[in-house]
Amino acid sequence: MASNAAVPFWRAAGMTYITYSNICANLVRNCLKEPYKTEALSREKVHFSISKWTDGKPEKPTIRSDSPEE
């Protein structure tokens, strides 16, 4: 990819916008004062279940909750 446009530093390091935005949001949430902080952390928990499919049949699903950004 020729970087002829001025790419932001996080994209140059291989991060996508969504990852960048989620990291920023998490940092802001961690700086909240106490009652708001616990509300915010409980609000932003992520739960999803993934099942891989082989031969047209789903395998056993794995549940992932609140996976941190990689």
Binding site: W10, A13, Y20, S21, C24, A25, V28, K33, A40
Partner: protein, 201 residues
């Protein structure tokens, strides 16, 4: 109010005569799906066509030919709608290119936001929020849509946590090895210094 009414009467014939010179000058959006209903009645003339999402939405107001006196702001977060079609005098958004003031009649713009302070000015009152990141879409009809992932009023931020975070990420930057770690540390520094200047400035 009488002034607005006479403005609307005056601009209606002008809108009809003008032939859409710029793509940013939009006429009012239709409130019913004409092509869908025609196709439906051709195939199934006996049943009423179902409503499409377009009929549930409010139609987009047209671009008035004279600048409106108020900016209509929709400020939304993933979990709540902070401001919904609120009429204000001005908003100042923290765009990546700097603090941008948006007044009624602003040219249609899409701007990415950086972590910073959003201030909404209505009459003599001003409300400030700290935004983590997001976008602002300003339409030609003086509607502004501000979308942010996280927005908090400034009094909910803890100054000690902010300064601790800033020190922590500054040290992480100097000890970072890979590009990704450096980027993360840099993001931490940017966000915390923006928080710091929002709380102290």
């Amino acid at each position: 109010m009488l002034r607005r009414a006479s403005m609307l009467l005056a601009c209606r014939p002008i809108l009809a005569a003008r032939a859409r010179p710029f793509s940013t000058d939009l006429p009012a959006a239709p409130s019913a799906d004409a092509t869908f209903t025609e196709a439906w009645t051709k195939v199934i003339p006996n049943m009423d066509p179902p409503k499409t999402p377009l009929s549930f939405m409010q139609p987009r107001p047209p671009t008035p030919s004279s600048i409106p006196s108020k900016l209509t702001v929709n400020f939304v977060l993933p979990y709540a709608s902070e401001l919904a079609t609120k009429e204000v005098d001005m908003v100042i958004v923290p765009a990546t290119t700097g603090q941008m003031g948006v007044l009624p009649g602003h040219v249609a713009t899409i701007a990415e936001l950086k972590p910073g302070v959003l201030s909404v000015h209505e009459g003599s009152e001003m409300t400030k929020y700290f935004i983590s990141s997001g976008f602002v879409f300003i339409h030609a009809n003086s509607f502004a849509d501000i979308i942010a992932v996280e927005a908090v009023p400034l009094d909910r931020l803890d100054v000690n946590l902010v300064q601790k975070g800033l020190a922590e990420f500054t040290s992480k930057l100097s000890s970072a090895t890979t590009d990704l770690e450096k980027a993360e540390a840099q993001i931490g520094i940017d966000v915390h210094s923006a928080l710091n200047s929002a709380l102290t400035g």
